[in-house]
C-alpha cells in the first residue's frame, strides 16, 4: 500500500470509529440537546469517513463500503484515542475536545497539502468541523475547573498526541495548553476495537451486499 492510501485510511478509520463511538450516546446522552448534538456529529464524522474511503478506494481498486467494513480489526489504522469505549461523560467530553483539537491541527495541515484532491476535501470537511470544535470548546470551557474533567483530559492526552504525526504535536500541545509527553501511537489495537467491529460490521457480514 502506498503512502497516500495509508494516510487516507488512517484519516478515514479515525473518523469512522470516532463517529461510531459518538453515536453510542444516541438515545442515552445526559440531555436531549446533547443527544441531538452527538448524533449529528456522528453523522458528520461518518460522512467524512465515506468521502475519504472513496478517495482511498480509487487508489486501492476497492470500494468505500469494502474498506469500511470488510477488513479485519487488525487491518484498521485508527488511533487508540477513538477506539476507547468510554462510559462516563467527563471522559467522553475530554475525548471529543481532544479529538477535535487534534483533527483541527491535522486538517489545517492537509488544507495546504500539495495533493489538490485531498486539500479540497480537507477544506470541505473543515467547514463542518468548525461546528464540532465550537461544541467541544464550549464544553471544555464549562468543565475546565472540574476535577473529573481535568483528570480525564490528562489521562487521554497521550492518546490525543497519537492522532497526529510527530511534526504536528508541538502545535497540538500549544492549542491544548499541555506539555508534550510520550504519545500513545497507532499500531496495536485494544480488544475494544474488535468488540466495536463485531457490532459495526454485523449487517454487512450477515447479509453480504445489502443496500440500505
Amino acid at each position: 500500500m502506498n503512502e497516500r492510501a495509508a494516510r487516507l485510511l488512517e484519516l478515514a478509520d479515525d473518523e469512522l470509529v470516532v463517529g461510531w463511538r459518538d453515536s453510542e450516546w444516541t438515545g442515552v446522552a445526559p440531555t436531549l440537546e446533547e443527544d441531538v448534538a452527538f448524533s449529528s456529529i456522528a453523522q458528520n464524522e461518518i460522512g467524512h469517513a465515506r468521502a475519504l474511503y472513496e478517495v482511498a478506494a480509487v487508489e486501492l481498486g476497492s470500494d468505500a463500503d469494502a474498506l469500511a467494513f470488510d477488513r479485519s480489526p487488525d487491518e484498521y489504522r485508527c488511533a487508540p484515542l477513538v477506539e476507547l469505549h468510554l462510559l462516563d461523560w467527563a471522559h467522553t467530553i475530554a475525548r471529543r475536545y481532544l479529538y477535535e483539537e487534534a483533527d483541527g491541527v491535522r486538517i489545517e495541515a492537509l488544507k495546504s497539502s500539495d495533493d489538490a484532491e485531498l486539500a479540497g476535501l480537507a477544506a470541505k470537511i473543515d467547514r463542518e468541523e468548525v461546528y464540532h470544535r465550537l461544541h467541544a470548546e464550549l464544553w471544555a470551557a464549562r468543565l475546565r475547573e472540574e476535577p473529573r474533567f481535568r483528570a480525564a483530559v490528562e489521562e487521554l492526552w497521550p492518546h490525543a498526541l497519537g492522532v497526529v504525526e510527530p511534526a504536528l504535536r508541538p502545535e497540538l500541545a500549544r492549542r491544548v495548553g499541555l506539555a508534550e509527553v510520550a504519545a500513545e501511537e497507532r499500531g496495536a489495537h485494544r480488544p475494544e476495537l474488535a468488540e466495536l467491529w463485531e457490532e459495526m460490521t454485523e449487517v454487512r457480514r450477515s447479509v453480504p451486499g445489502a443496500q440500505w
Binding site: 449529528s40 453523522q43 465515506r50
Partner: protein, 160 residues
C-alpha cells in the same frame, strides 16, 4: 437538448429534506454538460454525511431520463460549495417556510461572535431577539434557535 433545457428541468426538483427549495436554489448542482444524448450533471453535497445525497442523485438521473437523455450524475466533493451559493430566491423560500436562512460567510472563519450575534431573524414574527438553542438540529445542515419575542423555537440553516 440544450444545457438550458436541462437546467430548467432540474429547477423543478425539490430538495428531498426541505422540499420548499429546489436543488438549483440550493446551489448544489455545479455543472450541466450536454453531449448528444449524454447529460453529465455534477452534484456537490451540502454536508458530506447528508443522507439525502443518494435521493438527489436518483432524482437528477430520473429528470434527465424524462427529457430523453442518458444521465451521468457525478458527485464532486471539493470545497466549492458553501451556503453562500444558495440563491436569493432559495433564501426567501427558506424564510417563508420557517427556516432562518444561513448568515453570509464572513471573510474569515466562522466565529463564536458570529453565531451569537442577533443577525438571525425569527421567520415567524420577524424579531431579531433570537438566541442559539443548539448548534445541532434535526439534520446536519440545521441548528435550533429560540425566538424571545414570540417564544417559539425555529430552525436555522447553518452557515458553512
Amino acid at each position: 437538448m440544450t444545457a438550458e433545457q436541462v437546467w430548467d428541468a432540474l429547477a423543478g426538483i425539490p430538495d428531498p429534506e426541505i422540499p420548499v427549495v429546489s436543488l438549483v436554489d440550493l446551489g448544489v448542482i455545479r455543472d450541466v454538460a450536454v453531449d448528444g444524448d449524454r447529460v453529465r450533471v455534477e452534484l456537490t453535497p451540502t454536508f458530506l454525511g447528508c443522507p439525502a445525497l443518494e435521493a438527489m442523485r436518483r432524482d437528477l438521473a430520473e429528470k434527465v431520463e424524462e427529457l430523453g437523455g442518458e444521465a451521468d450524475v457525478r458527485v464532486v466533493v471539493d470545497d466549492a460549495w458553501s451556503t453562500d451559493r444558495i440563491s436569493p430566491e432559495g433564501r426567501e423560500k427558506l424564510r417563508a417556510a420557517g427556516f432562518a436562512p444561513p448568515a453570509p460567510r464572513a471573510a474569515g472563519a466562522t466565529t463564536l461572535v458570529q453565531l451569537q450575534s442577533k443577525a438571525f431573524r425569527c421567520p415567524y414574527c420577524g424579531s431579531t431577539e433570537t438566541r442559539l438553542e443548539n448548534i445541532f438540529g434535526p439534520t446536519p445542515c440545521r441548528s435550533i434557535r429560540w425566538c424571545e419575542s414570540c417564544r417559539q423555537p425555529f430552525e436555522q440553516f447553518k452557515t458553512i
